[in-house]
């Protein structure tokens, strides 16, 4: 029987958040503080200059604030909900993922989809407020908005696979704390969350071009603020799509191998 209603498993993490109001309050506070600080920082940095690294003040502030909002898309507290792959491996509850008529990879994907849609609601609400108060500027045209939306979708897809690889590591190492710390730092640095990649030296930009992080945020945000013109969007979208395909194949291979390694504690 086809799993017609299994997609509803996507509600797991958002439901957990809604049942934990303190976490929602904390998320709201954190997002507000981050947006205010980041906007103040970039406004301050541009106080004495007009254009730097090809970005003017409005572009830089818009880029930085959108980066903060976008990072909210996958920032839910799975750890508190005891629902990370790391915890399932540790507590031995990962076995249940293999005892349901919904393959673990599908369950993982549905759960991530739910998280990202929930995060998107936060990001859109934050965007609407920032737009209304003039912290970010709107896209130049409907075409830019459309390309940005498509690029953002691909970017989140790439990010999903990157996070999945780190989670899949647990099947071999049982722990992924160090890998996760490296990932968070690399993701924030190389995707342009800390600062737009255009501010970094050329060798750094070249290096990051060989990694998937740039495809997650830097590309869609650069398209939004106009740092990458629409004429170059096709090539950038193709690179993002290529990363999606490569990572999809790689993670599929890892899922297959992981299934052979599900040995939780005990005889």
């Amino acid at each position: 029987m086809a799993a017609v209603h299994a997609w509803r498993a996507a509600r797991v993490t958002p439901l957990g958040e809604l049942h934990t109001p303190p976490r929602m309050t904390a998320a709201l506070l954190r997002l507000t503080v981050q947006v205010v600080l980041v906007a103040s920082l970039w406004n301050g940095l541009y106080a004495q200059t007009g254009t730097t690294a090809g970005l003017d003040r409005d572009q830089a502030v818009t880029y930085a604030v959108l980066a903060v909002l976008a990072s909210r898309l996958r920032e839910l507290d799975q750890y508190a909900g005891r629902d990370t792959v790391l915890q399932h491996m540790h507590f031995g509850t990962i076995v249940y993922w293999y005892l349901r008529p919904l393959a673990p990879q599908r369950y993982y994907a549905l759960r991530a989809l739910g998280e990202q849609l929930y995060g998107l609601a936060w990001a859109l609400a934050g965007y609407a407020v920032c737009l209304a108060v003039g912290v970010v500027r709107p896209p130049e045209s409907a075409a830019v908005a459309g390309v940005f939306a498509l690029s953002m979708l691909l970017g989140q897809w790439v990010l999903y696979y990157v996070m999945l690889v780190i989670d899949q590591l647990c099947f071999w190492t049982l722990r992924n704390g160090a890998a996760m710390l490296i990932l968070i730092f690399a993701q924030n640095l190389l995707s342009g969350v800390y600062a737009p990649l255009w501010f970094f030296p050329d060798w750094f930009i070249t290096l990051s071009g060989f990694l998937p992080f740039q495809a997650t945020l830097s590309v869609p945000l650069s398209l939004y603020v106009g740092r990458i013109p629409l004429s170059e969007a096709g090539a950038q979208l193709a690179v993002q799509a290529a990363w999606v395909v490569v990572l999809a194949l790689f993670t599929r291979l890892l899922w297959r191998r992981a299934a052979r390694r599900v040995i939780s504690q005990g005889g």
């Binding site: 029987m1 799993a3 017609v4 209603h5 299994a6 997609w7 509803r8 498993a9 509600r11 797991v12 439901l15 957990g16 049942h19 934990t20 508190a80 909900g81 005891r82 629902d83 507590f91 031995g92 509850t93 076995v95 249940y96 293999y98 005892l99 349901r100 008529p101 919904l102 393959a103 369950y107 052979r260 599900v262 040995i263 939780s264 005990g266 005889g267």
Partner: protein, 347 residues
């Protein structure tokens, strides 16, 4: 759908890295790791009929959980084959998942942050259970396990007993014909244990589910199982009814009598050994071969001697299983010493 379980020559070998002791050893293991093979389950064969509750017993590390993991499709056997409700579990995991329910001790499959009822609803969606059936089944489980008093509570706030009851319900919500329970009542108080046993009895007798249960609680075995399979060091050493096991390992009874005649000549009886003789007090026990049951021995003593008082001490199932484990250990040692080509069947 038939809920039978067929296991034929099932084996599973794990390959692990040996960690050498000390700093130098650890360094050596890092550079040149030594891999060893450990046979967790070896050539295990048994059947469980539809609607039967079988207790899979054995000391810690005997291979019970590994066997269950192969039957649930989590692990693939190294050799042999298994069929659960007609499906090879490790080849058709998703199809097998619809036929089975499982509870692994204190490991919960419920979502920690959600109220129990939400967890049930997610499982309903995953298993595609129609809403009406879902509600009816929840109602039935509520009657037996008293779930409604806490099913709106988040899982993280439940007591162990409440959580395990919810896990049992979660495992059966999709109406599986076969249920695997790996030490489901571990750590629970006696009241909840009894409630769970009643629930399981109902599932077997009224719903006709096939249950494979592992436990160290012999009261549970006594109350629920008619048949047990005993494994040790991964090998099946016994497959039989509780009566057979008692006959084989439980002959540790004693008949204590006070004789009426101080001059009576006291001697062993057929199959009955004289253990102690102190004045008027005598104690009989089973002889090594052809020992009668305790009731036959009681009758024989009364018929042979004039007694003023008589009492029996019978080993409980805990003692019986201890004796079985000890014998199983001896068999395992014998297996280890005999070359593999020359191995005979166990106990």
């Amino acid at each position: 759908m038939s809920g039978s379980i067929e296991v034929r020559g099932l084996s599973r070998t794990f390959h692990t890295t040996v960690r050498r002791p000390g700093f130098a050893g650890a360094l050596k293991s890092l550079v040149n790791p030594e891999r060893v093979a450990k046979e967790a389950v070896v050539d295990v064969t048994f059947d469980v009929a539809p609607g039967e509750l079988l207790a899979l017993l054995g000391p810690n590390g005997a291979g019970k959980s590994t066997t269950i993991k192969m039957l649930t499709g989590i692990l693939t056997p190294t050799a042999g084959e298994a069929r659960v409700a007609g499906v090879v579990p490790y080849e058709e995991r998703e199809r097998n998942a619809r036929n089975i329910g499982a509870v692994f001790g204190q490991r919960t499959q419920l979502w920690w942050d959600l109220p129990v009822r939400e967890s049930f609803a997610i499982l309903r969606d995953i298993y595609e259970v129609p809403e009406r059936e879902h509600r009816a089944r929840l109602g039935e489980f509520d009657e037996l396990l008293d779930l409604s008093s806490f099913w709106d509570t988040r899982v993280r706030h439940l007591s162990l007993g409440q959580r395990v009851r919810c896990d049992l319900a979660a495992a059966l919500l999709h109406d599986p014909p076969v249920v695997f329970l790996d030490e489901p009542t571990i750590g629970m108080d006696v009241v909840v244990k009894e409630q769970v046993r009643e629930f399981l009895r109902h599932q077997v007798e009224e719903r006709g589910r096939t249950v494979l249960l592992t436990t160290h609680d012999m009261t549970e075995v006594e109350r629920l199982a008619e048949r047990v399979v005993l494994i040790n060091h991964g090998r099946l050493v016994l497959d039989g009814s509780l009566d057979e096991i008692r006959r084989k390992f439980g002959s540790t009874w004693q008949v204590r009598a006070t004789l009426a005649d101080p001059h009576a000549r006291v001697e062993p009886l057929p199959g009955i050994a004289l253990l102690r003789h102190d004045g008027l007090k005598v104690v009989f026990g089973p002889a090594e071969a052809d020992a009668p049951t305790v009731h036959q021995a009681l009758k024989a003593v009364i018929e042979r001697y004039e007694v003023t008082d008589i009492a029996i001490d019978e080993a409980d199932l805990e003692d019986v299983m201890r004796a079985a484990y000890v014998q199983a250990e001896a068999v395992s040692r014998a297996h280890a010493e005999v070359p593999s080509g020359a191995r005979a069947e166990g106990v």
